[in-house]
Symmetry: D3
Subunit: 135 residues, 6 copies
């Protein structure tokens, strides 16, 4: 088993806000991340798949194809967008990095039928990041 990872980038904005809560409770819980007009990040996403590289290619999976799947299924939909308003698959979900990573996993899993998806790592900034492993 070898693990291969492809990193992609996108720039987006979001607001942490629970519409079922009062303004005061939102501010107390989410602090400056609750700013009504939102704020943004240069996100980095690392997708790891695992497998046994066959002798005739030496590749677990073509990293170019992995990159194409991530671009088509994720980056095209979220790059230069607002996570709270522009993204169908995040409707009704608070767009924390945790929830975004889970949503990305659920999208990519069926699009990679021949590979074993191991991990989605999402960097909101160099100092804040999350990982989801489908557990």
């Amino acid at each position: 088993m070898v693990y291969i990872t492809r990193k992609e980038h996108f720039s987006a904005s979001h607001r942490l806000h629970n519409p079922d809560w009062s303004e005061a409770k939102n501010i107390e819980t989410f602090g400056k991340c609750n700013n009504p007009n939102g704020h943004g990040h240069n996100y980095e996403i690392e997708v790891t798949v695992g497998g046994d590289p066959p002798k005739d290619t030496g590749m677990v999976m073509d990293l170019k194809k992995l990159s194409d799947v991530i671009d088509a299924e994720i980056i095209e939909k979220v790059d230069h967008k607002h996570m709270n308003h522009d993204i169908d698959f995040l409707t009704g979900v608070i767009p924390t990095a945790e929830n975004m990573a889970i949503a990305f996993w659920n999208i990519l899993k069926p699009k990679l039928p021949h590979a074993r998806l191991i991990s989605i790592k999402l960097y909101e900034s160099p100092n804040n990041f999350v990982e989801y492993r489908g557990e």
Copy 2:
């Protein structure tokens, strides 16, 4: 003359949009940066000042004080904000990195009376950045 630089960070969102133009011209000019709900970045700002370090301190300027000025005058105002809606000093200005760097220069210049402000460098992403030197 020695140049000293302090780097600070903030996360913010913006939209490139000229309200005097048609929607079509805005999209043609600004592309996906014109998304109505905006998008965002992890910005990095590098402020460089120059001077001759005096013998008794060996410092052009206390980097902690430079950091405090940048934080109080810039970061506190723009971090976790939307450049088009939340920032007094950017009212009526298209918040490109170019215009943001010029605005930051104009704010910091009078707040650093004992130092020679040399450059403001603003990174929108690791691949896109601008520099303004007051010229």
Copy 3:
């Protein structure tokens, strides 16, 4: 289960030295890290906690609170200090990155009662780092 990580920074000095050994054995074992006046690093610490993000916040834990705990319990005590002389909780311990990571785990574990501490990763430099997972 989602894993969230917060990275913090501190600058400190240390000396690798076993007082029970001869000078010769110390130099043979620790090389230039045994320099009597010490040397230093810009350390980076990554603290990972895991959990299931509840629906009403979407957060395993507030990263701001995790940052505050790391700052209060670790960074405030070690930043701009000498690991061999200034740190109560490292008394009698050779301040290798391994021992520092274990000490940081033991400090943070009881301060994060509502989270599951998964890993402490400590970078001495971009090329040298250690990880402790409480195993």
Copy 4:
């Protein structure tokens, strides 16, 4: 158990090519990585070993010695070389990052008899990397 990691660097070129295949199938499979004259990378290799740091050294293993082993066994042989033509231990193997990581593991494993080799991570670029854990 503490995990310690040492990162080293080398610059090399390679070509992804299966000599048993037609030119067309090679291009279809490997794309621009099949360029006959090859292309290159600044590779980064991270070697992780695990252990219980003994009280008298506080070190799982001397990172300087780990670095020396990696340098002597790997870096000296692959730095500023062409993976397809210059490397004995890669003869008959397509030099993908996957196969290189496995080959490096097989070389290092017997050279680290007193440590527990945990992982070889190989970065072809900041966006493409693989990991092999001997599984």
Copy 5:
């Protein structure tokens, strides 16, 4: 005057070799960079242009267009190639970073008629880089 910079990446191989010299003089001069089968790098190119951002766009130049020009004129031609064998515009030139930066300047200069080209910075690795400013 504001300076804007766009960074792009390519992976390529090269060999430092003067065909007018003996093998011995080549090895003495270029060391391991003279390896007959070449070696490679992940190159980074930073292109800086300067100008006064007009009020209606706030942009010295559309960074997307600058990126497109660099991609079409440079990256498409050098990515995943061997500098000594595959590149028309480097024929007869030793492909040092210095000569590559000058060649890139000469290609880009006429393709950016409405901008003032200020600098080409070329990173062969994080530790080795050159800059050409047309002087």
Copy 6:
């Protein structure tokens, strides 16, 4: 004229302290950088030289030779040392990054007789750095 830069690294400790001042004035001026036992950094030094690359080498200067000079004249003397106690050429000087950069310039200048020394850039951390250009 092409500018070439070589980056090197060292780890060291220092204390900002003026022995002619009271303890109170030292703490007021240098803050936590005045900690009696010192603190440390992973320093990065970038040395830039300029010149016209001759046709037969294509190199302003052999970067390997530049690296060797920096290593022999600077890194060997300061790596894993305490700037206040272990360094002859810093005796009587407060080892701020400014003063260290000037000292490094004065050492390297006569050791590079065939090159034009342009700049010494010294990073104390990714967020704090200085540059000296011999002006």
